[in-house]
Symmetry: C5
Subunit: 340 residues, 5 copies
C-alpha cells in the first residue's frame, strides 16, 4: 500500500512535465540497455520483410594515397536511414515530440562494412542515433577509411586514379538488407567538391555510385562509390623531370667541347653522376608494384642510356683521334726520316 502511495507521488511528479520529456517515450517503448527485442535481431515483424537501408556518402577529405603500398586514405561522412518496425509512437501524446536521440547500443544497426577497408576506422564513432515517431531510424557518422586501391602508375606523375569504396552488409543477404543510395552521382559530386578541404597532392574529380552484388559471395547487396582523382604533378616536374632534362641538355651540348683535352670526358661523367644522384629521388617516389615499367622510369633509363652512348662515342672518337695522330706521327716520323 505504502509503496503504491509513493509510486503515485512519483508518477504525479513525473507527469508534471505533461509527458513532454524524452524519458516518457523511452519508457513507452521500453528502451533499455538489456532489452533483447531491440538489439538481437533485424527489427521486422515478419522475417520476409526486407529492410531497406538508404545510404548517402560525402567525401570530406582525401588524406593520403600511399603509392608504394597502394593504400587510399579518405575522410568520409555517411548517412543511413532504415525502418525499425518495433518503434512507433503517437507524437500527439507526447507534446508533439517527433524524434529522440538515443545511444546506438539500444538498437539493432545494419552491419555495413566497406569491402576495401584494411584498417579499423580511425575516426571517433558517433555514439547516438535518432529515432522518429514513424519508426524511421537515422544514423550519421564520420569515417577515416584506410582502403586498398589498385593504382595504375604507368603515366606517373601525370596519372588519374579511381578508388572504390564498396558498402555492403557483412552477413545479411539482399532478401534481408537492401542498400539504396539517397542521391544521384551529380549531387554527391557537387557536395563533395564543396566540402573537400585537404586533398594532399590529389585533385578530386568526381564520384559515381553503382548498385552491385558482392564479388566475394554473390550474397550481399552492395553500393560501390567510385572516387576519381588527378595527381598534381607540378612538383614532380620541378623537382625531378626538369633537372634530369637539364642534365640531358648539358650532355648534348658537351659535344661542342673539343675532344683533345680530358675535360670533355670528365664533364660528361660528372653529369652522369648527377643523374645517378637524381635516381635516389626516383627510388623514393616511385611505387614498386607495377607490372609495366612506368613512363618516368623509362624516361630516366632513356636519359641514362643516351648519356652513356654519348660517353661511349666520345671515348671512341678520342681513341680514334689518338690512333690517327699516332699513325700520322709515325707517318710524319717516316716522312721526316725519309726526307732526312
Amino acid at each position: 500500500m505504502i509503496a503504491g502511495f509513493f509510486f503515485l507521488i512519483f508518477f504525479t511528479e513525473e507527469n508534471n512535465n505533461g509527458n513532454c520529456g524524452y524519458n516518457d517515450v523511452v519508457k513507452f517503448l521500453n528502451l533499455k540497455k538489456d532489452n533483447d527485442k531491440y538489439t538481437l535481431t533485424r527489427p521486422v515483424k515478419n522475417y520476409n520483410t526486407v529492410t531497406e537501408v538508404l545510404h548517402l556518402m560525402k567525401v570530406f577529405g582525401i588524406l593520403d594515397m600511399v603509392k608504394t603500398e597502394q593504400i587510399f586514405i579518405s575522410y568520409i561522412w555517411v548517412f543511413l536511414r532504415w525502418k525499425n518496425e518495433h518503434i512507433s509512437w503517437n507524437p500527439k501524446e507526447f507534446c508533439g515530440l517527433e524524434s529522440i536521440t538515443i545511444p546506438t547500443e539500444l538498437l539493432w544497426m545494419p552491419d555495413l562494412i566497406i569491402e576495401e577497408m584494411t584498417e579499423k576506422d580511425k575516426a571517433t564513432t558517433n555514439p547516438f542515433l535518432t529515432i522518429y515517431s514513424n519508426g524511421n531510424v537515422s544514423f550519421r557518422n564520420d569515417h577515416v577509411v584506410v582502403s586498398t586501391c589498385k593504382m595504375n602508375v604507368y603515366k606517373f606523375p601525370f596519372d588519374s586514379q579511381s578508388c572504390n569504396l564498396s558498402f555492403k552488409s557483412m552477413t545479411h543477404t539482399p532478401r534481408e538488407i537492401n542498400l539504396k543510395t539517397l542521391e544521384n552521382d551529380k549531387v554527391i559530386t557537387r557536395w563533395s567538391k564543396d566540402l573537400i578541404e585537404t586533398q594532399d597532392e590529389w585533385e578530386f574529380l568526381d564520384i559515381t555510385v553503382n548498385n552491385q552484388t558482392s564479388d566475394l559471395d554473390r550474397f550481399q547487396s552492395m553500393l560501390v562509390y567510385t572516387i576519381t582523382m588527378k595527381r598534381r604533378s607540378v612538383l614532380y616536374i620541378a623537382n625531378f623531370i626538369l633537372p634530369i632534362l637539364f642534365f640531358l641538355i648539358l650532355d648534348l651540348v658537351s659535344f661542342l667541347i673539343s675532344d683533345s683535352g680530358g675535360e670533355k670526358l670528365s664533364f660528361k661523367v660528372t653529369v652522369l653522376l648527377a643523374v645517378t644522384v637524381m635516381q635516389l629521388i626516383l627510388n623514393d617516389i616511385l611505387p614498386s608494384s607495377s607490372d609495366k615499367v612506368p613512363l618516368i622510369a623509362l624516361y630516366c633509363i632513356g636519359v641514362f642510356t643516351l648519356m652513356m652512348l654519348s660517353l661511349l662515342e666520345s671515348i671512341l672518337v678520342m681513341h680514334l683521334i689518338d690512333k690517327d695522330s699516332a699513325t700520322q706521327n709515325n707517318k710524319t716520323d717516316g716522312d721526316q726520316s725519309l726526307s732526312e
Copy 2:
C-alpha cells in the same frame, strides 16, 4: 520485520556521518550505472528546452605539423558546462555539500566532436565529471588532436598557417544543443600563450573563436577555433637556402677562371652536382601537395637554370675560342706557307 530491523540498524549506522558523505547524495539522486533516466537521453524535462553547452579551449602544445600529409597535431584542454535538469539537491540537507565528482558513465554527455579530427584521441580520457547542487555539470578533459589542416606552402619556409578545430555535436540540432564559448579571443590567446611549452618548429600567434553552423549538414551548432602559427625558418635558411646561395656565388665567380684550361668546366659541373645533392634535402622537406610551385622550389630551379645557362655559355665560348684559334692557326699556316 527482521529485515526491517536490520534495515533500521543499517540506516542508523550510515547516518552517523550526518548525511555528510557523497554516497548520501548519490542515493538521493538514485545515481547508478544502470539508471537509464540519466544516461539514455538529453537531460531536459521538456524536449523543447535547448541544452546550452558552455565551451572553453586552451592550447597546451603544438606537437607536430606534418607538411607532407597536411596534418596538424595539437594538445588541447577543453572545459564544458551544461545543465542537467534531473539533478538538484539542497546543499543544506547534506552538510553544505555543493558538488560531487562522479564517473562519466553515470550521466548523459554531449556528443561533441572536432570535425577536422582524423584519428581517435590519443590522450587519456577523464573518467570523472563534477555535478553541482543546482544541476550544472562540468567536465574538463585533455585531447591530443590529430586534425587535417589545409596548408598553403607557397611561401615555405617563411609561411604562416591557420588551422581550425571545429567543435560540434555529432547528432543534435541547434534546437537541441547550442554551443557557446565561455571567454573571448583575447583571453584564450593570452592563456594559451602562457601555457604553450612545446611548439616544435612553430611559433604560436593567436586563437580566434567563431560561432558557425556546420558545412556538412547545416544542422549542427559549431564553435570554430582558429589557431594561427608562424614557422621558424632559421634552420631552413642555415641548412638549405644559404648553401645553395653559396653555390650560386661560386658559379658566378667561376667566370673569372680562364676559359683556356679544362678546370672551368670541371669546376662548374661539380658545383652543379653539389646543388643536385642539396635537392635530396629539398625532396625531403617539401610537401608534395600544392597546386602552385612553392617559392623555394622556384628558387632551387632558378639557381639550377642559371648555373646550367652559365655552363652552356662557357662551353659555347670555349667552342668559339677553339674554332677561332683553329681558323687563326689555319690562317697562320696559310700566311706561313704564303710567306714561305
Copy 3:
C-alpha cells in the same frame, strides 16, 4: 489478475504476426546475452562429440611484404560452419523461417587463431553470425593478417616466396575441435585469382591447403594454407641492375682512353663513385636477414671488384709507362750527353 490481463493483450498483439518474427525463435531458444548455456562451453550434449569446424579461406589481397622484417600482410576472407547441438527449431512453426542472423556474443565460437599472426586483426570484426534451424552455425569474417613469413631472398629480385597461414584452435584438442577444409586447392586458387585486386609488387601464383597437427604442442588440429607468390622484378631491373651494368660497360670501355693524360683515372674513379651512390639504394631495398649473401649483393660487389681491379691495373700501367719513359729519358739524356 490485471498483470495477467495486460500480458494476454501483449501476447495477442505479438502473435498478430503469426510467429513470423525473428524474436519468436529467439524467445523459443531463450537466446540472451547472459545465457551461460550458450556461451560458456562447447555446444555439444555429450562431451565425447567432436565439433567439426568446416573452414574456407579466400585471399582478397596481398597488401604488403616487408622484406627487412620478414612480414607478410594479407587481406583474407574466412568462412566457418559448425554444429551447435543446443540450437534447433521447426521452421514450419515459425512461418518457414530457416535462419536467423544474431550477434556473435550470444553463442560460443571456436577459438581459431592463425599461428603466424603477430599483430591483432586490423579489419573490422563481423558482429553477426547466422544460425540455421538444424543447429548449423555459419560465420564469415574478413581479416587483415600481419604474419611472419620465412623468406629466402637469395635470388632477389627474381625470387618466389611461400607464406603459410595456419589456422588452429588455441586450446581445444583434435578430440574437441576438428578442422576441415570445405573446398580443394584448385577451387580456392581459382577463386582467389578472381578476387585479388591489389598485389603490390607480388604476383599471386596459387594456394594449397594441408591438414596438419601443430608443431607447437602437437595438441591441435591445424589447417595450413600456403600462398605462393612471385616478385615483379621489372622495376628493380630498371632502377638498379641496369644502371650498374651501364657503369660496368663504361668502365670497360674506358680502357680505350689513352693512358697518357690524367683523364682515364679521373673517369674511372668517378664511375666508381656513381656505383657507390647506387649502393645507397641497395642498402635501402635489401633485407638484412639472410644467411647467404643474396645474388644481387654479389653482383654489386662483383662489379665493384672488377672496377677496382681495372683501376689498379690502369694505375700500374701508368706507373710503368712513367718509369719506362723516365728510364728512356735517362737513356736519351745519356745518349745525348754521349753524342755531345
Copy 4:
C-alpha cells in the same frame, strides 16, 4: 525449509576453513562489481575529509627521446597509497589476514594523470590493488610514458635536457585530493640509478620532486618529477664533427697546391661537395624546432663559408696571375717586337 537446510549445509562447508579465506573478508565488506558505494565517489565518510595520496615514482628506463618532435619516452614505476574509509576489518576475526589483493574495478581510484603525456599508456595496466585491514589501499603500476619535453638543442650534441613528469588529479581540487611524495629526491635518484638499464643515447643524471599547483587550472595539487639527462655525444663527434673538421683541414692545406694547374680548384670544389654530402646527415640528426641556430649548424655553416671564401680567393688569385702573365706576355711581346 529445504532451501534453508541446504543453505545451512553450504554455510557449514564454507566455514570449515575457519574464516581464513579471502572470500570471507570480501563477503564481510560486501565487495562486488556493482557495489556503487565503493566505486562511484571518493571513499570518505565526511566530504570535508581530504584524501591524501602518497606517491612514489622510480624511473626504470629512458626509452627514447625524439629530437625532431620534442618527445620523451620513459618507462616508470609508480606506487600509490591512500585511505578508503569504507574499508576496515578486524584481522583477528579472519585468522590474522591483513591484506587482500582484489581487482581494481571494485574500488574507487584517484584519477591521476601525467600532464605532459600525449599518448595513452602503452604498458600493461595492473588489474589488481591491495587493501589493508586499516583501510589503506595500495596500487603499483608500470607506465610507458610518451610525454612532451621542451628541449634546448642549442649546444647539440653536447646538451643536457630536463624533462618534467607532472602527476595531478584530473578533476579533484586540493581540498579533495592532496598529492604527497613518499621519499625525497636523493632516495629516488639513487633507486632510479640502480634500476635504469636502457638509456639509449642518454645518461641519466638525477630526479627532483616538487609540489606545485597546476598551471592549467590552478585547481589541482600537482607533483612534478624533473628528470635530468646528458646526451652521449661520442658518436656524433665520430660520425659528423670529425669528418667535417678533416675536410676543413684538407681545404686549408690545399693552399700549398700551386695555383698554376687546374688541380687546386678541382680539389677544393670536390672537398666542398663532400661537405655537402655530410649536410645530408646533419639534416637527418638535427631538430628543426629551435629558435636559435644550434652551434652545430653554425659550425657546419662556418666551415662551409670558410671553404667558399678560400675557393673565391683561389679563383681570384688565379685570375690575377692570368691577367698578370697576359700583360707580361704583352709586354714581352712588345719588348720582342721592339727589340726586333
Copy 5:
C-alpha cells in the same frame, strides 16, 4: 504446480544426455560470469596457502631488434598451470569428463607481466582456459613481446646479444604467488630451436632460466628467461666493410701515380668523397646509444684519417717538388745568366 511440471520435463530432457555435457559440470560448480567467488580473489581456502604457478616459455620467433632504440621484439608461447581450490568434481559422476575449456573471464588468473615489456601485447589473447577435475587450471597463450634490451654494440656487426624476459606477478608477494619453471634450460633451448622460423638477421643460440626476486620491489617472485643471439654479419661485410676496404686499397695504390700531373690529387679526393657517401650508410645502420665508439665507427674514422693523411702527404710532396723545381729553375736561370 504447472511451472514445476514444466521444470520436470525440462529436467528430464536435459538428463537424457546422462550428465555427459559440459553444462552439467558448469552448473555443478556454479560457474557464471558474475560469480565473485571465482573471479575476485586468489583461489585458496586458507590465505596462507601459496599458489604455485608452473610456467613454461618457448620462443617461436625473433621478429625484430631495433638497434637505435634498443628494442627486442619476440614471439613467444607461454604455458601456465596452477591450482584452484574452489574447483573440484568427480569425473565418474559426469561420464568420465575430466577437463572443460571455459572462457578466461570466469576465473581468477595470476597477474603475470614481463618486466621488460614496453608495449601492450600485440598477439590475439587466448579467450579460453582449461580446468581439470582435480582443481588444476591450465592456460596457454601466444605473446608478441616488445621489450627493452640493453645491447652492447661495441663489436657491431660481429656482436652477440642477450635479452631478458622476466616474468613476475605485478602485485602478489612470493608468499602469495610462487613462480616455477616446468622444464630445464636444455629442453627449452632444444624446443625453441625446433620452433624458431623467422630470425631476422639474428641467429638464435640458447635460452637459460633463472629464479630471482624482482629488483624493483624485492617483493615478487620472478622467472628470468635469457635469450642469447648472434648477429648475421655477412651483409654488413658485403655492403659496408668491403667497399670501404676497397677504397682504402685504392688510396694506397694511388701512391704509384706520378706526383707531377694533377690527377693524383683529384683521384685521391674523389675516393675520399666515395667514403663520405658510405658514411651515409653508416649513419643509417649504427645505433647512437653507446658509451664507447663502436669498432666499425673507429674503422671508418681510421680509414678516413689514413686517407686524409695520405692526401696531406701528397699535397706536401707536390708542394716541395714545386718549390724545388722553382729554386732549380732559379738556379738554372742564374747559371744561364751567368754562362751568358
